[in-house]
Symmetry: C2
């Protein structure tokens, strides 16, 4: 799991629950430098390794966050590292705006992919074909929609690698029997005012000049 | 948010996404000692404060984990701290087996509450009335079911404090429009084999002699 300052903790920890229980895999966090990585708030996770120490990975997961968008736009050593690691993986995976980093690394050209609902248009700037789905598979690349979609992704991945029964066990273990109190998790269902307010907020932070 | 070695990261980070955006509240992690707290795997979170530094809290959240069950059974300074802090809170909240710690602190006597599906019987040992619901409110105490239910809880809480529109904005922000690939998130829906295998696994670790 790649970390960087400003990553969205739930993008990483949603998938972590199942992935950290994958038999035969050793889960670790990797970042520009080993050591603490902050989300910009109270959540500070330890990266076990630096990108310089990691030349090959079986499963690469790139979580989203606001900086994923700007790193994808402007380039970053982490993007180069993703491009270098991808040929060594069994699975290359993004959650939320992590997909833009895969895109900037050149991995999504002409491929169906998904990301946070706000960033679908920008995803196509990298040659991807945005699909409005929870999880999109394209060969060994799997992209998940915004933030909480990483949980769904982890179960899809668990099934691909270990089969349905293992994946169902993971789902039961985390009691993933969701009952959101509102039907507001996607622009198609959320009240219009809620969508436009949140879109304006994102625009104010993220819209290129 | 209380942390302790062996806590389940998703119990904490699921609610964190919304709670860390609550206007006018400062989110922090607290543990026996300030500094790194490990889940026993790769996830190491920094606690900003020690329990000795914290005498009052507006919203206390206690995540679950296997050690929550054993701490509740045998007693622990964290249980005493929960009992001390509870009278100062606006809300006292648990996710998953964190409810057993609230129970051991004497907070759930004769009150409806929920916890991870595996631990409902044990919850009643503390005088609670187990309800098989995703989120149970009882005055200022709110308990959530297993692991991922903390996300639903955070949205219920967001509505109670800031109203429906704010809560819906949080849900849309995290694109919480869940599509689990299986219907296996609860013993009532999961295949019988999957339930009995996981129950045996938990029994082997958790059943008192």
């Amino acid at each position: 799991m790649l970390l960087y300052p400003g990553f969205t903790p739930l993008d990483a920890i949603g998938p972590y629950h199942a992935l950290s229980q994958f038999p035969g895999y050793e889960f670790f966090y990797v970042a520009q430098n080993a050591g603490p990585v902050s989300d910009g708030g109270a959540t500070i996770l330890q990266a076990q390794k630096s990108i310089a120490e990691v030349d090959t990975v079986d499963i690469l997961v790139v979580p989203g966050g606001l900086p994923a968008i700007t790193m994808a736009r402007t380039g970053d050593p982490l993007i180069d590292w993703i491009a270098k690691i991808h040929p060594t993986t069994e699975w290359t995976i993004s959650v939320c705006t992590g997909a833009l980093m895969l895109g900037a690394a050149g991995l999504l050209k002409d491929l169906p992919a998904t990301t946070h609902w706000y960033s679908h248009t920008e995803l196509s700037d990298y040659g991807a074909i945005p699909h409005d789905e929870r999880v999109v598979e394209s060969g060994k690349i799997m992209t998940a929609a915004g933030v909480s979609a990483g949980i769904d992704m982890s179960l899809v991945l668990a099934e691909r690698i270990f089969g349905r029964e293992f994946a169902q066990k993971m789902q039961l273990d985390m009691e993933y029997d969701p009952k959101p109190p509102f039907n507001a998790g996607h622009p198609r269902s959320a009240p219009t005012d809620v969508v436009s307010e949140l879109r304006s907020l994102f625009d104010s932070v993220l819209k290129p000049d």
